[in-house]
Amino acid sequence: DAGITQSPRYKITETGRQVTLMCHQTWSHSYMFWYRQDLGHGLRLIYYSAAADITDKGEVPDGYVVSRSKTENFPLTLESATRSQTSVYFCAALPGGPETEAFFGQGTRLTVV
């Protein structure tokens, strides 16, 4: 089935640990995005990617790293997790190009203790 999936759905990690959130989409060539959702801030863009090996920072990129070696995958890595990174993370894709409908994954709820 075509779509976008995130894993894991829930994750608890300790401060200072590295953690990677996975995002996979089946539309092949697609713009992809990572957002975080926090109370009082809505959804804010962390990083985005126009294609394989093309990534750029969004509004809140500090503490995060992304890669896109394959067009269908867009992992988000927290190199040294902090409590302020406790959030719900959403991956999104625009399979039809930048001026088309966006689709979101189910979200990953990350807790840093």
Binding site: Y31, F33, Y35, G42, L43, R44, L45, Y48, A50, D56, G58, V88, F90, A92, L94, G97, P98, E99, T100, E101, A102, F103, F104, Q106, G107, R109
Partner: protein, 111 residues
């Protein structure tokens, strides 16, 4: 960048009532979407509507791009309509489809 503002921030309804949610944006848009975030946290696509009017069952949306606003209408509301409604906009240019979200409208429908 583009600014997106939604109103009202909170809305409480009795089942069967109608409601209108508003989204104002600060620039011309190439993409305007409405989402419903259900109580399980999922973001459900409601409308992709950079301009014009669309309807889907009890829900409809209108975007007046020249006046920089969009409206989401919910008729005969049901308890399952509860949740947070977001609008999100993309201003075009070289922004690679990045959506900017409003703060959302929290809708509660009581039986």
């Amino acid at each position: 960048g583009i600014q997106v503002e939604q109103s009202p921030p909170d809305l409480i309804l009795q089942e069967g009532a109608n409601s209108t949610l508003r989204c104002n944006f600060s620039d011309s848009v190439n993409n305007l979407q409405w989402f419903h975030q259900n109580p399980w946290g999922q973001l459900i696509n409601l409308f992709y509507i950079p301009s014009g009017t669309k309807q889907n069952g009890r829900l409809s949306a209108t975007t007046v791009a020249t006046e920089r606003y969009s409206l989401l209408y919910i008729s005969s509301s049901q308890t399952t309509d509860s949740g947070v409604y977001f609008c999100a906009a993309h201003a075009g240019g070289t922004s690679y489809g990045k959506l900017t979200f409003g703060q959302g409208t929290i809708l509660t429908v009581h039986p």
